[in-house]
């Protein structure tokens, strides 16, 4: 398994698409997590001259609240509770789909398997390499957020207070669970469809369209709520809520699942997707 891990690591490390995804992830955090919000809050639109002072004060307080949310002390709340980290789900889903599906697209599965790694060894190596890069993407997200919040603090002349180390470690754990579930969903889809195109297409359609639609549909029934509690998006949002409540101005729906249960659900998803991938690889012919 270690030999396969070494081979997989070399492949994923030298693949330009991996680093393009990392760059996109970094840019997403900076733009959607900080730059757009900061531009809006720091440069509010011109107020009408006849605006009542009470409304003016409310607007100023609102902008101040938004700016505070971008400071280092609120790093984790902004990244996780406000859903900024959820943007990375699509990125790691693509990473996972590429790790598995490309082997079929290029026909390299047969080349690799005839070198002796064994199907179990090969899949274990792949899963470990993907997991390592998921950790790196989480750390990159945290670093991008920290860098952006530090810049905001400098621009606003605010004091710089970082979250405690324990909270940062917890955030890394939450990030790994979240990205793990989405990354291994992409991995299983890549195995299932034996290619990247359909795996990425359907995975993104699910992550960006179906999950959001499910969250916003105004259906009030027990079975619907039970179903929602199982969805990846719901559990991703729920586990992120341990770092605070979302900013009310962002219109993020309330979470349904307790964070601890969401963490367990996401962990189970990682295991289920890995097992599904293994069963698919073990049972099917490599043509």
């Amino acid at each position: 398994m270690l030999a396969s891990f070494g081979a997989e690591l070399l492949k994923i490390r030298k693949r330009p698409a991996t680093w393009i995804l990392a760059l996109v992830w970094f840019i997403l955090i900076v733009l959607f997590g900080y730059l757009f919000t900061y531009s809006f809050a720091a440069n509010p639109p011109d107020r009408p001259e006849d605006q009542p002072p009470q409304v003016q004060q409310q607007e100023e307080a609102f902008n101040e609240q938004i700016l505070n949310g971008l400071l280092p002390e609120n790093l984790l709340e902004n990244l996780f509770a406000n859903g900024v980290f959820s943007l990375g789900a699509a990125i790691v889903l693509i990473l996972g789909a590429m790790a598995a599906g490309s082997e079929y697209s290029w026909g390299t599965m047969k080349t690799s398997l005839t070198q002796r790694p064994g199907r179990l060894g090969m899949l274990s190596g792949k899963a470990l390499a993907l997991a390592l890069f998921i950790v790196l993407f989480v750390l990159l997200g945290l670093a991008a957020g920290a860098m952006s919040s530090y810049t905001v603090a400098l621009l606003e002349d605010a004091s710089i207070n970082w979250p405690p180390l324990e909270e940062l470690a917890k955030a890394a754990g939450v990030g790994v669970l979240t990205f793990g579930a989405w990354g291994f969903l992409g991995f299983a889809l890549g195995m299932l469809f034996r290619g990247t195109a359909l795996a990425i297409g359907l995975g993104l359609a699910w992550a960006l369209a179906v999950e959001n639609t499910i969250a916003l549909l105004p259906i009030e029934s027990d079975w619907w709520e039970s179903f929602r509690r199982l969805t990846l998006g719901e559990n991703t949002s729920s586990v992120g809520s341990i770092f605070g409540s979302p900013n009310p101005s962002f219109s993020i729906p309330e979470t349904l699942v307790e964070p601890e249960r969401a963490a367990i659900t996401l962990g189970l998803y990682v295991a289920v997707f890995a097992v599904v991938s293994l069963v698919l690889l073990l049972r099917r012919d490599v043509t």
Partner: protein
């Protein structure tokens, strides 16, 4: 199912260990049999040609031998191991169909990946690159390689483990004439010594030039197995002489002529074609007019077409 024309092994071949052995190997996709009850034997040290028309089941068979495809029924042993088992694959190098590698990696890095999978030490990479004459382009990306270079990299990957058995599936596919000649030379060199080469091809000339023994597969079944000479059948001479009855009478009395048959106004003698001059002298000295005398052996292509029921290659 067609009956198999199987030549008995020569004395020296008996007792040679079998490297590949299949018994009733079958692969079905629904009601379609891609490979049907295949009994194949490849002996140590030989270059075995696995010949058949496109779609005959060659690649499916090789994939089963490498553990990539599971047979529907039957049994196979490769170097005494179950196909696809890490113990067996450790001694097998393979190039199946087109060479497939990671396009964004260099040739050298692709081999590094493969070396890690197979637990081979890094210095071996330079050795195999040298062997397939790719050292100069080792650092180029695989996607920039020509088809010939890709094929050679495929052979290099197959050689990484210094395998006892080399499985090559259509290695000259898509190559220009020089590339094909180079690849044939390489295979000949690789087949020297104790190493066994199982070469799948639909190119008769290639098999004829390289292989010690040939198995012909058609519609999923092995229809013949033996040496190239055996498959071509008995060699002979075609004689056109006047009067033909007298020529036949003389030919029947000649030592070394096994059979004389009349064939469209000429005689077909089953004998060593190298005796042409001697036979010509006998006929002429008997006062016969000899207008044509040439070797009349069946070509491998004719034998192949006969065995496969006229399927084109």
């Amino acid at each position: 199912m067609a009956a198999t024309v199987r030549q008995e092994p020569q004395e020296k071949e008996r007792g040679t260990p079998l490297v590949v052995e299949t018994r009733g190997l079958t692969k079905r996709y629904g009601r379609i049999a891609a490979v049907e009850s295949l009994d194949l034997t490849v002996r140590r040290g030989e270059v075995y040609g696995f010949l058949g028309p496109n779609g005959a089941g060659k690649t499916t068979t090789l994939r089963m031998l490498l553990g990539l495809i599971r047979p529907t029924s039957g049994d196979a042993r490769v170097l005494g191991e179950k196909p696809g088992s890490p113990a067996g694959l450790g001694k097998v190098g393979a190039l199946v169909e087109s060479p497939a590698f990671y396009p964004y990696l260099s040739g050298q890095d692709n081999l590094r990946v493969m070396a890690r999978y197979s637990g081979v030490r890094s210095p071996r990479i330079a050795e195999v690159l040298e062997r397939v004459e790719l050292s100069g382009r080792a650092k180029d990306k695989f996607r920039k390689y020509s088809l010939g270079m890709k094929q050679r990299l495929g052979v290099a990957a197959a050689l990484l483990k210094d395998p006892d058995l080399l499985v090559l599936d259509e290695p000259t596919n898509g190559l220009d004439p020089k590339g094909m000649a180079d690849m044939r030379d390489l295979i000949r060199r690789l087949g020297k010594g104790d190493r066994t080469v199982l070469l799948s091809s639909h190119l008769l000339g290639e098999v004829e030039q390289i292989c010690d023994r040939v198995g012909v597969i058609s519609k999923g079944s092995l229809v013949a197995e033996g040496s190239v000479a055996e498959l071509r059948g008995k060699q002979g001479l075609l004689v056109r002489a006047e009067p033909i009855e007298e020529a036949a009478r003389i030919a029947e009395k000649l030592v070394g002529v096994e059979e004389v048959a009349e064939l469209g106004g000429a005689l077909r003698l089953t004998t060593d074609p190298e005796r042409a001059a001697e036979i010509n002298a006998k006929l002429v000295s008997a006062g016969l007019r000899v207008s044509e005398l040439r070797p009349a052996g069946q070509s491998l292509e004719e034998a192949f077409l006969e065995l496969t029921g006229g399927e084109t290659v």
